[in-house]
Symmetry: C4
Subunit: 257 residues, 4 copies
């Protein structure tokens, strides 16, 4: 594999489609949100993107098979609304500087073929946790931006960098005559953060004028909460244990001296 | 984006133009000086340079929009003198070795198209601060060098390396049959240094035989001074605080033992 | 050398050949197993693969000559069975991300020319040592997988990454319409581990339906055991010595105070 | 500059020329030896090699000018012997893996154009200093090797890596149907080591059947010796000073406690 390739799986005609991208990144916000949408809408596989800029390993599947790291495009036919959707999520982002630009470019060229005019990218925005994490938005298009603000996203302060594919797709969109919007869910970013993803999903539904059952993401949030509690308990026990050990050591020292 | 591209914004004819480059680098000297000139002369946008060798993020603008990292060429029509000017400044330098050579080459090829025969690059020269930082000069052309020395720049000691675009443009100029000069303002380099930039601007005016109002750069110098004082105060307070804390701790220890 | 090249040494027709790859990696399992097979079957040189993605040094040979780092394809004509074999082992894997994909691709293209439809790659699987290290298997093909499981390999848990050429060949095989299997010998991985390689050889004989004398690999295992014992002894002596030194130091301190 | 370029300075016909390469490396042995030969024989400039794989800076020359990093080919017409000589030395080696292979390839292609059939590379061989550092030799050609051994070089133990251009030229020579020899002067390698270079020059004269005045290199050895002595003295003084300081501190501590 000498360069990025996209292998088409299905041939479909799509109605003024919108591309929604969420690759692994801060708090896995983009990936969690995009995968959830893909499942809820039963989106169908459209194409796979492979690249020599991805890490050089394969992953073992559940059936004892393996898969090359890749990104998956899938599509959803929107029977009631104006826009079909194309989703993009995957295993990894490109690992080198030039690779990042190359993969982002390949994604947009592929979307162009399907007539995509609007790109929405999803990522995380590093911030200490609050009860209800907000969704930060930036856009290359003021109409699109207003829509997101109406859907209760907040505008990003200026000067912020948006790193990786979620950012580059916005930066490169104008070269392909597309408009683009980026939704960033506030997250501490250390662990996969379905709560941040839920916030993004809410804004996204407002923008896309679709309705999605959010009970599944609530379950993911519960699971994530339990994992964090378990981790906190382990940390606490370790600390208590360390404290005891130290006391014992100190007592020993006292006896010796 | 698979390679460096230059997107032209305006079509103009320029009179024997000189290219003046100042990208981010040591003490931001080049960028500060070039941006100041661009503003003072109300230079107009000419072209944007994008490159897959720049960092892979986008920056949020003030209106909630984003921009891909790039360099901006702008031009100034010189009504009284012999040379129109092209300025080049921007967000970043290339991030890889091969990228540095590639971007420098693209810059010169673009300048060539406009008939540029002389290139002036600006950067910082690491040196402990003095009241009046000097401007160090090197050139591929002895006539150009004399002009700079007459304008009170001082010659660089031999053996010095000039790193990055400011250096490579000089090195590559001869392949494009251009002559080139580099002005380096002495700076400690830790923080943006408008004082070093002011020194360069003075020499530059001498070389280019133009007059520029320097009151704006004086204001920047005042602002930078205040920032440094504020940082020093913070550092001092921290130290005082740390000292007190230590004393309290030591007293505690004394009581225990 | 601007790109990966394969220099053919022999021209042969091969009967439905299987490619067996074992390059340097974890515990050197792949390289040890593949080299042992090559020697035991007196495989003949077929081609050399050179690449600008290999480390930039040459190795001194025994006769005072040097060799560029490379991988060697060799072949074995199977007089009694259905499949001739092509072996691939060598000095190094590619050193960059893009290089890994490029070299793996070149290997498969070469194999394709000889009509290879099945690829078997060999590597190490990091695990604390047991008396009888197991062999972990994954495959792109369920029939091939069953064969390996019948030959007493165990299925890999899902989610595992297989890093480097051994993994990428599996991931890329489907693009060349090949099926592939990877055998990973359990190893601690710190030192060349012929015991892990022996396990792999046993499974491999089951899959390929060939018989190989394993007395040579047993000798290698003995040698490796002795090396480890010697290293343990050295470590022990060092510790004893350090302990003594510390005691002496402490006594000195006692006398002084 | 998008790729390695060689700019020819002179057009000459050379008699069965031998290429002698010595770029910066361990102990600067190759560069010192090659530059010394170039000067002694008053070799004339032949061509310059520039590459985007060299570090991205320029160096200030003595006249206040700058130069792009490059390698210089020069030639010497041998009036009495059978072989003219081409020398190659320069500012730097390539900085990336692929760059190393690319530059080595470009060097050999250029040499090929002049009919070079024999390449001699020079480098350092890390070894603790002895009074008379030996010269280690490897070659792709047994006749050439014997010549070097007769000239009192010693054969390299097998398994040694020869890193960088000096090694790669040997490894790549066979692809260009050339034979090659590498001479490595034993050196500690921390500082430029003219003594190691002198050893190489002696062997080289034997192989090439030429005579060179070595008084100049003896002066360089003297200079290097003095530098080392000065550095030792500085280190000693520092140690003495540190010892005194420590004593004073300890006395203070004694008074306090």
């Amino acid at each position: 594999m000498k360069k990025t390739v996209i292998e088409e799986i299905a041939k479909v005609k799509l109605k003024d489609p919108v591309l929604i991208e969420g690759l692994p990144g801060l708090g896995m916000v983009g990936r969690i949100a995009t995968r959830y949408l893909t499942k809820q809408l039963s989106a169908k596989p459209l194409a796979k993107l492979y690249s020599p800029h991805f890490p050089y390993y394969v992953l073992v599947n559940q059936k004892g098979s393996v898969r090359l790291l890749h990104c998956l495009f899938s599509f959803w036919k929107n029977k009631t609304g104006k826009h079909d959707l194309i989703f993009l999520t995957g295993d990894s982002q490109a690992q080198t500087i030039e690779g990042q630009y190359d993969v982002a470019d390949s994604i947009l060229d592929f979307a162009k073929k399907y007539g995509v005019r609007t790109v929405i990218t999803i990522g995380g925005y590093r911030k200490e946790a609050e009860e209800n994490p907000k969704v930060v938005v930036v856009s290359t298009d003021s109409a699109l931006l207003s829509k997101a603000l109406k859907a209760e996203a907040i505008a990003s302060p200026s000067g912020n960098p948006i790193v990786g594919t979620a950012g580059l797709l916005l930066g490169l969109a104008k070269f392909k005559k597309m408009r683009a919007l980026c939704l960033l869910g506030e997250t501490r970013g250390y662990l996969p953060d379905p709560k941040a993803a839920k916030g993004v999903l809410a804004v996204l539904q407002g923008i896309l004028e679709i309705k999605i059952d959010s009970s599944g993401i609530d379950k993911e949030i519960e699971r994530a909460k339990k994992i964090i509690e378990r981790m906190k308990n382990i940390a606490k026990e370790r600390e208590t244990h360390a404290l005891k050990t130290r006391k014992i050591e100190e007592e020993k020292v006292t006896y010796i001296s």
